[in-house]
């Protein structure tokens, strides 16, 4: 209930920073953890010994640990305060399972840790015990995406002797005052099978609850009279796979909403409308305009002849001039700062940026609404109960009736409000009218004064995203290939390059992105000229123009010359080249269409002896077409790869594997040249 990671900018770029921070933290934590003073030895509690003596759940030889016992007890007081007890017992099976011996409990201003204990029952010798005074505390685990400040902290404890063969366990007792009376029981684990998991709920008189099960058959509770218990057993581990759907759409959960009279707190959400009302209430008064905002809005829009031009100017201001900074304290994890404050400082997080843009749009007579979304497609589905599993806020902008423009792609029609343009002001690189792939084909909560409604963000045409490459090249009889490439990088492909180029610290490094890309296809080459276009004009497609010389590109074999016409780029993947059968669907980043047109002028005195066959592979989810032709002394290779559906179910996995192999073969195919007249 304490996760407040309510903002997500461009994921991959941010992840790099997190990873780097993690490296030094890991070292520091280790330094401290191994120096934690000794606590007295004490026997592990009875519940842990009982669990330790039970049979192991089914597992394979790669399993690092099994969860023998899991128990969550939620006791609600009449004033809405909650006491929560969490118990876990693991058996460590392999050396890599030692990581389960380090556990943490999160807390913030609304959550207090009353007690935290850990024990080890070694296979030989006396039990070990560690207590709260042995813990280290940090605010860094709660920091995501480089937020400047958050009040979310963690206590971390390391249990001694968490070695293979030993059983470790812990108990955390907390007092919670959640902003929303809702809990989530996550009983399924990644890579750890669960033997038994229990959840107990105690409610005071007059309180009610509602549960929704996700990705697991519903289990009826036992008990009654204010006390209920649920139990599941032998829950298989989820084995992570590359490109799999998000955790919330594959793991078993029970979402528990509570209804009573918690003072100053909101009951669990009955539905999305109720959640929308709460969200709207949080933003109440936050979009009031200040004289400074009025003035700036007038200044920005002064030269815009049309409403669309004014909207674009405001969007650009928000993308470029309002810096991303997140300060999330208390309810600030959920509630935006007031627009005048955001404008004054010229910084804010995603909901702040949405708030200020909404305020400025309102000044030019354009309505807009918050749209809560998750950057991992599939986290929220129509089956998901109303819960705060969103991590980002964008804006749904109501388009004036007379505004029709072909550049506005991401438009939905919402019955009550008409046409809405979905725009992410936190995304510095995606132009007004578009939306990056990870947010497409996703469910999002539209927040309006009437409440909220789950709506589906549509998928844009494949042609809005991808690489369109054209090359005119000359091959010599010694195998040297030289010539010019022109690339247009649309959508997310342009965004990635813009973000990368803007992060370089010296001009000389700009060419490195091209060198890296080319080196994945050519073994020996020199980039002789390189430039980019529309780096800062995000409403125009980003482009690269470069020239190269590749020595020994064509290989001699006897008197033959072997030429791979594909030259650059790859659309294949070895994602499915695994021994184990695929368990989960494959999710694409977004729709895309990549197209290559390569023209190679052949060396004098050579003619084509053999050409690769054309490829035509069409599936419901994707297609690939390629063709190699000769016209005079020019070898012409064209190909197109298109992603049409963003999720490929397991039932079509063999087709996807086959498609990737077809593409891989085509990418390696070679044209054979021979001396003319032979």
């Amino acid at each position: 209930m304490t996760n407040k990671s309510y903002c997500n900018r461009l994921g991959p770029l941010v992840e790099i920073k997190r990873a780097r921070r993690g490296i030094y933290l890991a070292g520091l934590f280790f330094f401290l953890l191994v120096r934690i003073p000794a606590a007295r030895c004490a026997d592990a509690p009875q519940w842990m010994h009982i669990a330790a003596n039970g049979a192991l759940p089914a597992h394979d030889e790669k399993t690092n640990a099994v969860l023998l016992y899991s128990e969550d007890i939620l006791s609600v007081q009449s004033n809405g305060k909650i006491k929560k007890v969490e118990r876990r017992v693991y058996k460590i099976l392999r050396p890599d399972g030692r990581e389960y011996g380090t556990f943490h409990a999160n807390f913030d201003a609304e959550t207090k840790i009353n007690n935290i204990h850990g024990w080890c029952i070694p296979s030989q010798g006396k039990d070990y015990e560690v207590k709260e005074k042995d813990a280290i505390e940090t605010a860094l685990l709660g920091v995501q995406n480089g937020e400047l400040m958050t009040d979310l902290k963690s206590k971390i404890l390391t249990i001694p002797a968490a070695d293979p063969g030993n059983v470790i366990g812990y108990e955390i007792e907390q007092e919670l005052r959640p902003y929303v009376m809702q809990d989530v029981w996550a009983f399924q684990r990644a890579e750890v099978p669960v033997r038994e998991a229990h959840y107990s709920l105690q409610l005071p008189p007059g309180w009610e609850y509602k549960t929704v099960w996700l990705n697991h058959p519903e289990v009826p509770p036992s008990g009654g009279g204010g006390q209920w218990q649920w139990a599941v057993s032998d829950v298989t581990a989820i084995k992570p796979e590359g490109g799999m759907p998000p955790w919330q759409s594959v793991a078993g959960f029970m979402v528990i909403s509570l209804f009573g009279n918690a003072s100053g707190r909101v009951n669990g959400f009955q539905d999305w409308k109720a959640m929308g009302i709460w969200e709207n209430g949080l933003a109440n008064g936050r979009r009031e305009v200040s004289p400074e905002i009025k003035k700036k809005t007038a200044e920005i829009t002064a030269t815009g002849a049309t409403t669309l031009a004014k909207m674009r100017a405001l969007a650009e201001f928000m993308q470029k001039d309002i810096r991303y900074v997140a300060i999330q304290l208390g309810i600030g994890g959920w509630q935006p700062h007031p627009a005048p404050e955001i404008f004054l400082h010229k910084y804010g997080d995603c909901k702040d940026k949405a708030t200020l843009l909404s305020t400025m749009l309102s000044e030019i007579g354009v309505e807009s609404y918050y749209l809560n979304i998750n950057t991992e497609r599939g986290t929220i589905t129509p089956a998901t109960p109303a819960t705060r599993w969103f991590n980002h806020v964008v804006l749904a902008i109501r388009l004036p009736n007379d505004l029709n423009d072909a550049s506005l792609h991401m438009v939905i029609t919402y019955p009550k409000l008409g046409r809405l343009l979905i725009f992410d002001p936190t995304d510095e690189f995606t132009p007004f009218g578009n939306l990056r792939g990870e947010l497409q084909e996703s469910y999002a909560l539209l927040v309006t004064p009437d409440g909220g409604e789950l709506i589906k963000v549509p998928q844009l045409p494949a042609a809005t995203n991808g690489v369109v490459r054209a090359a005119k090249l000359v091959l010599t009889s010694t195998g040297t290939l030289s010539g010019d490439f022109v690339e247009q990088r649309n959508g997310d492909y342009g965004t990635q390059q813009r973000a990368s180029l803007k992060s370089v610290t010296k001009d000389a490094d700009r060419v490195k992105f091209i060198e890296t890309m080319v080196s994945h296809s050519l073994s020996a080459f020199q980039i002789t000229k390189a430039s980019s276009s529309n780096l800062n004009q995000i409403d125009q497609p980003f482009g690269y123009q470069y020239s190269l010389v590749a020595q020994n590109y064509a290989k001699t074999a006897g008197n033959l010359l072997l030429v791979r016409p594909r030259i650059l780029g790859s659309n294949s993947s070895d994602l499915l080249e695994k021994k184990e059968p695929r368990l989960y669907p494959v999710e694409f980043d977004g729709p895309e269409r990549n197209a290559d047109t390569i023209e190679i002028t052949l060396p004098a005195g050579y003619e084509v002896d053999d050409l690769p066959p054309p490829v035509n592979a069409d599936y419901s989810f994707a297609s690939y077409h390629s063709k190699t032709e000769v016209s005079g002394n020019v070898l012409r290779y064209t190909r197109a790869f298109e992603v049409k559906e963003l999720s490929v179910p397991v039932s079509k996995m063999e087709d996807l594997k086959k498609l990737y192999r077809i593409i891989a073969n085509d990418e390696r195919n070679t044209a054979v040249l021979k001396p003319a007249g032979h």
Partner: protein, 657 residues
């Protein structure tokens, strides 16, 4: 007067200086005057493309009054791009009870010269809190920062009373620094020594001591940029180190090391001097008839069987208490208890070798994994580990059995080709440890495969890792289980084959010993290795060329290149063609001998059986930046050679060649 200096504080300080972007700035006027030229700047010619630069940085440390030691920091940055605005987020570390950050002042100067004083909140972020320790950071962000803005802030670090410790000025920053000024007013009761181990930025004059104030200025310090295969950062960044000593410093290098050498020798000899115990022990290990080689090998092998606690997982204090491990004071303790750390184990080897009649000496060396040893720095701690020098059959040979899994006659890579002090009662003599030849550390890949009709390769593969190639893999896996080791070896094969492949380990490699070779056997399948070309089929020759595919992608380089040890890779691959197919043409043999690097490739056809031999050798450990282009060209030629194709065609078809 009580002055506390602890290892912990040095650690804490090092942590802060390393981790955080913020650099520490003299009292005086609160703000430096604004130069209109700085306001107009849109770029810095000496740092083209930089998102921001440091215009001015000032660090004034005053240790003179141990009750009020403090450090004033002032920093001014110019923001050039949107990306550079991130430098408006400031984080200043502190350790509660040890030092505090006071009087933080900050402001933004907009391109038009208007000033936005920082009046926002300064947060105190908890980095780590544990028993008796509290690491915090004061954090804030400046308002209204845009490209063209200048941001600046200053603050005071107030150290706790009686807290004086070694410090440094790290001159290199992630950003180009236009002008920097540093001062240190030292604590007067102790001697202070300062040095700049990696040199100073071009044009910078060394620190000067005037009127008990050490000061220096530097201009135009390039931004520090990390690169792959570069020497350790600690050996590359410009910095000035300050070291206090209660006992004073020896000014002459030779005298210093003589004195330290004597001390180290005394400590080593006191630990080793258990002649009787060692003689008894050695009698159990060797036979009188053993040759010197055999004797020493037996001793080495036996010593490596001692439980080496340096390679065990670090125990929590509870586990240590329960283990009741007593202090070890000499080689006899190690021998009797059957355990010791790596350092102690190596000295046991010294004791046993001497007891067996060998001329053996203790040597303290500096490992080259973190920084490069410079004797003129006169830092004893740089000689951070020990080896034993034995005269074996008239030849000086170095041994470190305390470094687990190191084969007889070898040292771990970080101990090779590095300086050390061979200890004796007179202080010792300087030596350099040996660097093993490339042939010592090899990866041999021998495959017997069949090309099947669907274009796949199937068969058996044996990979033999020798010397240091075996040693580091064994060290890395010593606390892992069989499943982990199996995965490591199978993943290795997938990495070296530049296509999807299936490898299944079929043997149980010897992970436990220090044998020179670690052998892994597999069944291997590479689907679709052969591609079609009309009536022909093409077979790429670089089956195990994956690691060399994307070496040195970029045409420019800033730092020298640094490699751990010389190595060789040898491939011996035999492939049976399917019935009905024959070789149309073979690629020409390649033999590229660039002295310190060499690559050769040869393919033969023996009646439908292909034989591929590929050899790659590197004798490099360090290479100047100016030779980067040559190295890149070499690897491009390797990759080009590996991309060559064997043309296959149906028997009876005319290939036109």
């Amino acid at each position: 007067m009580l002055v506390r200096r602890t290892f912990l504080l040095i650690f804490v300080f090092a942590f802060c200086m390393t981790v955080h972007d913020v650099r520490l700035a003299s009292a005086g006027d609160e703000w430096q005057s604004i130069n209109p030229e700085e306001l107009k700047m849109t770029s810095e010619p000496q740092a083209p493309g930089a998102p921001a630069i440091i215009l001015y940085r000032q660090v004034d440390r005053d240790d003179s009054d141990v009750r009020r030691a403090h450090e004033y920091n002032y920093i001014r940055k110019k923001i050039f791009t949107e990306e550079g605005r991130k430098f408006a987020d400031v984080e200043i570390p502190l350790v509660k009870g040890k030092w505090d950050i006071q009087n933080i002042k900050a402001r933004t100067i907009k391109p038009d010269g208007s000033i936005v004083n920082f009046d926002g909140k300064i947060y105190e972020k908890e980095i780590i809190k544990a028993r008796g320790l509290k690491y915090l950071a004061k954090t804030f962000t400046l308002s209204d920062v845009q490209p063209g803005s200048i941001i600046e802030y200053h603050y005071m670090i107030d150290f706790a009373e009686y807290l004086v410790f070694d410090s440094n000025w790290v001159l290199s920053d992630d950003l180009f620094s236009k002008r920097s000024k540093f001062t240190l007013k030292p604590y007067g009761e102790w001697a202070l020594q300062w040095s700049w181990p990696n040199g100073l930025p071009e044009g910078a004059k060394p620190p000067v001591n005037e009127n008990k104030l050490i000061h220096m200025e530097a201009q135009d310090i390039p931004a520090f940029q990390a690169e792959d295969d570069m020497p350790p950062e600690a050996a590359m960044k410009y910095r000035v180190d300050f070291v206090y000593s209660e006992d004073g410093f020896e000014k002459e290098q030779e005298k210093f090391w003589k004195r330290q050498g004597k001390k180290m020798n005394e400590a080593a000899e006191n630990f080793v001097n258990k002649r009787k115990a060692m003689e008894q022990a050695v009698a159990e290990i060797v036979a009188p008839s053993d040759s010197p080689d055999v004797k020493l090998q037996k001793i080495y092998a036996r010593v490596q069987k001692i439980r080496n606690t340096s390679y065990e997982l670090e125990k929590t204090e509870q586990e240590q208490k329960r283990a009741k491990e007593k202090e070890i004071n000499n080689v006899e303790d190690v021998w009797k208890r059957g355990l010791g750390d790596g350092y102690q184990v190596t000295w046991v080897f010294l004791g046993l070798a001497r007891a067996a009649g060998f001329d053996a000496a203790p040597v303290r060396i500096a490992t080259r994994d973190d920084h490069f040893f410079k004797p003129n720095m006169m830092r004893t701690k740089d000689l951070n580990t020990n080896v034993v020098l034995v005269k074996l059959n008239g030849k000086d040979t170095y041994f470190d059995p305390g470094a687990a899994f190191t084969p007889f006659g070898l040292l771990p890579w970080s101990e090779t080709n590095t300086s050390g002090l061979k200890l004796d009662k007179d202080g010792g003599t300087w030596v350099t440890t040996t660097l093993p030849e490339s042939s010592v550390s090899q990866i041999l890949r021998k495959a017997d495969l069949n090309l099947v009709s669907d274009g796949s390769l199937e068969g058996k593969l044996t990979v033999t890792f020798t010397g240091l190639e075996a040693q580091w893999r064994r060290v890395g896996e010593h606390n892992e289980d069989e499943a982990h080791r199996k995965k490591l070896l199978e993943d290795y094969v997938k990495e070296i084959i530049p296509a999807g492949s299936e490898a299944e380990l079929t043997n149980k490699p010897d992970w436990a010993s220090s044998a020179p070779a670690l052998v892994a056997e597999y069944t291997l399948k590479v689907p679709g290795w052969v591609s079609g070309a009309g009536k022909r089929a093409l077979f790429p020759v670089g089956l195990f060329s994956g690691p060399e595919k994307h070496m040195y992608e970029h045409s420019t380089r800033v730092h020298p290149l640094y490699f751990r040890y010389p190595f060789e890779k040898t491939d011996d691959v035999r492939i049976e063609l399917p019935l009905g197919w024959q070789v149309g043409s073979l690629p020409q043999a390649v033999n590229n001998d660039a002295k310190v690097m060499a690559y050769s490739l040869k393919v033969e056809n023996n009646k439908g059986s292909l034989h591929l031999e590929r050899h790659l050798r590197s004798d490099l450990t360090i290479l100047e930046q100016k030779y980067y282009g040559a190295l890149r060209n070499f690897y491009q030629s390797v990759s080009s050679g590996d991309d060559q194709q064997i043309v296959l065609q149906p028997i009876g078809a005319s290939g036109g060649n």
